[in-house]
Subunit: 291 residues, 2 copies
Amino acid sequence: MTQDQSPRGARRASTRLVTTKAELKENRAAMTGTVAAVLTMGALHAGHLALVERARELADHVILTDFVNPLQFGPGEDYEAYPRPLDADLALVDGLVDVVFAPSVEEMYPVLPPTVSVTAGRAGTILEGAARPGHFDGVVTVVAKLLQLTAPDLTVFGRKDAQQLAIIQRLVADLDLPVRIEPVDIQREPSGLARSSRNVYLDDAAREQALVLSRTISAALRAAPSVGAIRDVLAAALERAEIDWDYALALDPASLEEIGPEHRGEVLVVLAGTVGGTRLLDAAVAVATAP
Amino acid sequence: MTQDQSPRGARRASTRLVTTKAELKENRAAMTGTVAAVLTMGALHAGHLALVERARELADHVILTDFVNPLQFGPGEDYEAYPRPLDADLALVDGLVDVVFAPSVEEMYPVLPPTVSVTAGRAGTILEGAARPGHFDGVVTVVAKLLQLTAPDLTVFGRKDAQQLAIIQRLVADLDLPVRIEPVDIQREPSGLARSSRNVYLDDAAREQALVLSRTISAALRAAPSVGAIRDVLAAALERAEIDWDYALALDPASLEEIGPEHRGEVLVVLAGTVGGTRLLDAAVAVATAP
């Protein structure tokens, strides 16, 4: 459905840039019907557009937030160097969203760090959080703020950042935020490789080697519904060590704790490894019904 | 204005008890006009009724929450023994509020402790928080949840628990919660003693001795707008040691840090001390404009 054919698209023909909370609230209050929020740190690419597309399918209005959140960067990380191509971002989503909210740091955090904040607890200290203390606390704090400010009916998050998605689902459940989370499936290249802005760093050999990740995901899904068989697939992949694995785990999607052989219900399979110097993730949800 | 004469009172003639989040949301959605929330742990007394009265003045509808929050009790504290006289609470506010929300612990916290929670940071570790680690984290977590569930235009908090009020003001500002905090002035006995459910423990001698608190507050207010004079009043009170002081401090109301002589603007004066075995609080806000 293109913008010209769609009444929704037509309503969004003039995307508005707002930079203050007050303007955002004014624009939000004027929206009738359902509203979806797409929360980003800008530097938009095709992955973000898939989120925007899903948001457009699900709601009458779309608010995209474009904010590089200092709270989620550690001391040694690239907060200062993180790209902020606002004009290019606006061009990419022009006509596709109603509002782009791109506040300054001072607008978002008049006091930095804030006195009161949100913490992801232990779930934020494992997996991707293990080497990034405070990262997920920063994520849940800014997501909580942005969800209050945009007051959406629903918000979309990609399944590739599986830990982030799980933690944000806990945020919404644990703080009773009145919003629905819509997970968006991983976008894959024809080879099966999960799409990522980091894939540009892969040469042909690394790109071939990286397929270990998506093949391991496929094998784990074929092994379902047997928890034992899923765990065997992951153990065998780690054993073969075709790439430099960080982890290949079968988790309880709610607690992010490793599951035992007695687990039934959804199983979150998460993979992380380094290929040719580039760190890659992949993930999938399987359902376990048999031993 | 009594209930019979007031259209607001009339609308509240049948106070409804709800115990699930789903019922609460249904009742909330049916309210037109403005809504005030009064958050309590039950065991209601005259102090709570002053909050209800203020809420009734300010909004078309009032939701009172009645929930003993396990997260804000420490291991050695009286969570199990805390009174839960729900029938008496309902009788006290019958006809005064639209809805009483009294959920079970399982309804409020399907997972306890929650994975994701709110933290008051350093502001929760000083003053009343110094001897109660985690107390204010539990308070801000349940207040955040209850404000999401009740979705009020405003909520009322008493000024006597000055640190709690300041922390909740930070919660609302730092997480961009779309709600107005209305502080309610300290209720005082004719002697000046701040009303408290603990005052029943004071015998005549202790009641006389306890007036040191309100007299120190009055002296601090008379010393304004000079920051130096306010600090002198507090230092002199501590020096005289007529009661067993915990603290008598002049604070920045936003940060809860002690102010220096160069401070201008609002000054939060907070007092805590023990009289005849009973711990008492008092507080006031002064404005500093002169050295």
